[in-house]
Amino acid sequence: MAIFVDDSRVWLRGWWAVIFMVAVSVGLGYLFTEFFKDRAWRKLDDTPQIIGFREIDQLPAPFRLNYPGASQIWSYVDTGDQTKFICIVFYQQEMQGKELVSSGNTLVGKERWEEGKKVQVVVEQGGGENVFSRVVHQHPVAGQIVVSSQYRFASLSNTTNPLAAKLLALRDGFMGSNGSAQINTMLLAKAGSERERQPLIPPAIFEVIAAVDLQIMR
């Protein structure tokens, strides 16, 4: 019954491939970390300040945030109108299907959203164009209408590492700015019985978000 390991010389020769593949797995991560350790990415430690809103730990019911994979989430409440909230969710990378309002990302319940038309908005900020898309969603919860507006931030991060800069430029050449990290902002409002009320994110907030330094994290 000749089974399996039957030629030790061939066996040992084959181990060179194993050693090489192990070395690649271990070494490449280390090399890349070392090579790019001086890149300019840094974590967004400070919460972006939005005039007229203050930060809160979490949104009140019925909002239940479920954004797997998000790097950071900030929540705010309007200092005047306590029924208005802002939620900012930051993804380090462009995430497929990770829109704020989708069947995968749930805010309140699942798949009960009515989605309006998507409108592209361009804001000049920081020496470049920031492309946002604006959508109005409606969701009936416990007799309330929740209206939200979603914006996708598609600005590009910067780096001082020349190779990283070239790679990012290459990425943008192929994919456009949509391939960059993304930040989503929502204005949530409990609109009660006023179904027609559809507040949009005020331009001031827009500019704050566009100006946020998004040189982020690893």
């Binding site: 019954m1 000749a2 089974i3 399996f4 390991v5 039957d6 030629d7 061939v10 066996w11 020769r13 084959g14 181990w15 060179w16 491939a17 194993v18 090489f20 593949m21 192990v22 690649v24 797995s25 271990v26 490449l28 991560g29 890349f32 790019f36 797997p68 994979g69 380090q92 990378q93 462009e94 995430m95 497929q96 299907g97 989708s102 069947s103 995968g104 319940g109 699942k110 798949e111 009960r112 959203w113 009515e114 989605e115 038309k117 991060s157 990283a164 790679l167 990012l168 290459l170 990425r171 994919m175 391939g179 960059s180 990290a181 690893r218």
Partner: protein, 283 residues
């Protein structure tokens, strides 16, 4: 009897040690990239089939290796270099912040490892050639399906529109919004039916590989389930619109119908399996 089977199992395990070692090191040192992939599969309706496809692919590769008389390392250096290239691409993808590149390179690297270490044998005298299918099957888990989603979303809209056009139901279609007298439906990304198609394709390819020998039968096997998954999704959308119309949008199905879609898919899958079973016996 016991000692022979336990000896065989032990030798198999020893033979697989290099594979286990490379997989373990690869997973540990790339865990930062693997974790988001697992989270994505776990939390996404559209790509959750990856959780099944990759383990099945690795299992098929190991089963194929167990068919050998002796499990010796037969490195394919082109594949070893491809593994190195993919490892670089994983890191470059991370720096460029392109998750689809990271995920794709990870999945392909996973499939390349057994091929790089043990190769895929051609036919020799008295022994049939091994198949590349087990390795290629893992490509089904690549996160590229979303790119064709808009096409199937559009087709779903048009089919629904055609049906409503033939029915007496008053309606108005604007973009992907279907307005009825009592409410509005939106043909969402999730209504494309892509999730059922990809799941169907994964099942049909596996079935065809395991149970059919002729290309004609394999083609029939795969095409039929693809078509059934697509038609099942159209039936789902049309039924939901009808239920919404009849119940004045009060039915719970109007608001949460993902499970409803899987039930229709499961019923069609059982019918398909009976059919394939008959086809298998005939061929």
């Amino acid at each position: 009897m016991f000692s022979i089977s336990s000896t065989l199992a032990a030798k198999r395990l020893i033979g697989l040690l290099p594979l286990i070692l490379v997989y373990a090191v690869f997973v540990i040192f790339n865990y930062d990239f693997i974790e988001p992939l697992l989270v994505n599969w776990w939390s996404s309706h559209e790509s959750s089939q990856g959780l099944m496809i990759l383990p099945v692919s690795v299992w098929l590769m190991i089963q194929q290796l167990f068919g050998r008389r002796a499990l010796t390392l037969e490195p394919v250096w082109v594949m070893v270099l491809l593994f190195m290239l993919l490892s670089v691409v994983i890191h470059v993808g991370a720096i460029m912040h392109i998750q689809v590149v990271e995920f794709s390179a990870l999945i392909i690297a996973f499939a390349v490892i057994p091929v790089a270490l043990f190769g895929v044998r051609s036919a020799t005298e008295g022994v049939a050639s091994e198949s590349y299918f087990p390795a290629l099957y893992s490509l089904m888990a690549l996160p590229l399906w979303d790119y064709i989603n808009p096409v199937f979303r559009f087709i779903s809209l048009k089919i629904t529109e055609q049906f409503l056009g033939l029915s007496p139901i008053p309606h108005y279609v604007e973009g992907y919004r279907i307005e009825l007298a009592k409410g509005v439906f939106v043909v969402d990304d999730g209504c494309s039916g892509l999730r059922f198609m990809v799941s169907g394709l994964a099942i049909a390819l596996l079935y065809a590989y395991l149970y059919f020998d002729t290309n004609r039968a394999r083609l029939l096997c795969v095409a039929s389930l693809l078509l059934l998954a697509l038609v099942g999704n159209w039936i789902r959308i049309i039924m939901i619109v009808l239920i919404g119309y009849i119940t004045d949008m009060q039915s719970s199905l109007v608001h949460d119908h993902a499970t409803f879609g899987w039930i229709i898919f499961a019923v069609l899958l059982v019918i398909w399996m009976f059919w394939m079973n008959r086809l298998e016996r005939r061929t």
